[in-house]
């Protein structure tokens, strides 16, 4: 396994106006690893995730300090093309959010906005992505029907396929299973296991078992601070800090 550093976060501070949501976080993410960000609601883990593809730029009063290096280059450098950056970093959101378009158009969208016009190429890539997201068999006969007719779990896998179609290097997942039932959740988790062969995955989750099942590295956040990070096995069996242990065993949070 290649253990090279894909993303390097150095002394990241994040502010919503006066409120400091992240305090001096430093963390590395490696290629082909799944990292889980855990912690109680409001601890900043989603904010942290959204700093990585600069989604927080959309919040007018927000401010970022520190550095995030993607392959050694600072993504907050003024010369960085945010649009290009986001096509390298895919994102799956908390609630399934397919566009009110057909299933095909949902997946083809990212390709089209990234300038791919070749019809055959688009068709191939759509099929590949749907297969990769393990939903092809369920939708292959209804590609030109609305994506809104799918179930919640199917919609979420479609959103994953949509993110994969642009061939990102990194996949950010913000509580991707929080709106899904256990069976759909299991499908997504199996998918994450498959996908880590080709992507660097960072997942925010509220579900301890999920973090334990899918991730290689776990980072525990509390009140905007990165409390502890390490191999998932170690974090869940022999955490160094009492705070981490209390959270993982359900004594608070």
């Amino acid at each position: 396994m290649d253990k090279s550093v894909k993303i390097e976060v150095k002394h990241l501070n994040f502010y919503y106006g006066e409120f400091q949501a992240l305090q001096d976080n430093s963390l590395d993410f490696h290629t082909n690893e799944v990292s889980a960000l855990i912690g109680p609601s409001g601890c900043g883990k989603s904010t942290f995730l959204r700093c990585l593809n600069r989604m927080n730029d959309l919040i007018p009063i927000s401010r970022v300090e520190g550095n995030i290096l993607l392959d050694g280059l600072d993504i907050y450098d003024p010369s960085v093309d945010v649009v290009m950056l986001r096509s390298r970093i895919g994102m799956v959101f908390q609630k399934p959010n397919p566009f009110p378009k057909t299933i095909f158009e949902n997946v083809a969208y990212g390709l089209r906005v990234n300038g791919i016009k070749d019809k055959g190429l688009i068709e191939n890539r759509v099929e590949e992505s749907l297969k990769l997201a393990a939903i092809w068999d369920e939708v292959k006969d209804r590609m030109h029907k609305s994506a809104l007719g799918l179930s919640g779990g199917q919609q979420q896998r479609l959103c994953i396929a949509r993110a994969l179609a642009v061939e990102p290097e990194i996949l950010l997942m913000d509580e991707p299973c929080s709106a899904l039932d256990p069976i759909a959740t299991q499908k997504i988790e199996e998918l994450i296991y498959q996908l880590k062969k080709s992507f660097t995955i960072i997942i925010v989750t509220h579900n301890m078992q999920q973090a334990a099942r899918v991730s290689d590295i776990t980072a525990f956040f509390y009140l905007g601070e990165l409390i502890e990070t390490g191999e998932t096995n170690t974090i869940f069996t022999r955490p160094k800090l009492k705070q981490t242990e209390d959270y993982i065993t359900g004594r608070f949070g």
Partner: protein
């Protein structure tokens, strides 16, 4: 005790029912009246001759009751005004909802809506005194009171409706769709044009149609600035006589329950059918493209 309460409840239900029915009863009474007064003209001319007749000389001897030129005038004025008001209204709505900062949009939106607070007679006055001489000089045409002037003034009147309703529709597109699009590497502009606008298309279409139905039924403006000539226009600078203008200007001099009087009511029926169709289409679109489900609209 329980009995008194039940009686109060029932009385209240009835009361609310009566109040709610009042406007519907009014609508039907007006419709019945409109048809009762309009239908008798068809004893004098056939429906076909009335609608497709090119000559409107209601006071000649024998009179001509053909309203084709009035229908064409109404439609062309509405269409031309739509060509002006639809892009302006929708682009303004997109700017307010998607591009302007919160502070700017909080100032602009109420101001656009204030445009609809202008009484139509004031807009007509503006068109008559300022726009008409301007058009006459710039384009060197015999009169500034014409199809183009009327369309321009009507566009001013439909822009607030189109803009305000479209803005509401665009605003109600869930943020998660914008984020999904941006996260895929789409630009702000691509997100607006390919995701946000298509997702709010039903609301925008409804806005457009309601704006146009306002324009087709508007009376005072066309009475003042359309020029009033009952001919089929050949250019956008020809004076025209849309249906509402014709009714408003002639009703006072038409002999009560005479042929002219009935013809004007029949014109009213035709106008009513147009606005009725506009509203049905608007309703239909709003219903057909209504989004359902959690992650949608």
């Amino acid at each position: 005790m329980a009995n008194t309460r039940q009686i109060t409840e029932r009385t209240m239900h009835t009361l609310f029912f009566v109040v709610a029915s009042a406007s519907i009863v009014m609508l039907f009474m007006i419709m019945i009246f409109l048809f009762m007064e309009g239908i008798p003209i068809f004893n004098e001319v056939s429906v076909k001759a009335f609608i497709f007749g090119k000559y409107w000389y209601p006071t000649s001897e024998p009179p001509d009751f053909g309203i084709l030129s009035l229908i064409v005038a109404s439609l062309s004025v509405t269409l031309l005004s739509a060509l002006i008001s639809i892009p302006l209204g929708i682009l303004t709505a997109i700017y307010i909802a998607e591009i302007a900062s919160k502070r700017v949009s909080e100032i602009i939106k109420p101001m656009v809506e204030l445009l609809s607070a202008l009484p139509s007679v004031v807009i007509g006055f503006f068109g008559m005194v300022l726009v008409a001489p301007f058009l006459q000089n710039v384009f060197n045409i015999p009169t500034g009171l014409n199809l183009f002037n009327a369309s321009l003034m009507l566009a001013f009147m439909s822009i607030p409706t189109i803009c305000s309703l479209s803005e509401d529709a665009i605003h109600s597109v869930p943020n998660s769709l914008r984020e999904a699009s941006l996260a895929l590497g789409a630009t702000h502009l691509e997100t607006i044009l390919k995701v946000v606008v298509p997702a709010s298309l039903s609301g925008i279409s409804t806005a457009v149609i309601l704006g146009m139905s306002r324009a087709i039924g508007e009376t005072m403006v066309v009475l003042m600035v359309a020029g009033g000539a009952a001919f089929i226009p050949e250019s956008i600078f020809d004076p025209v006589r849309p249906m509402p203008a014709s009714i408003a200007s002639e009703m006072a001099e038409a002999p009560f329950r005479g042929a002219h009087y009935h013809a004007l009511f029949a014109t009213g029926i035709v106008l009513f059918i147009f606005t009725f169709l506009f509203n049905i289409v608007a309703d239909h679109i709003a219903y057909k493209y209504k989004q359902v489900g959690e992650a949608t609209l």
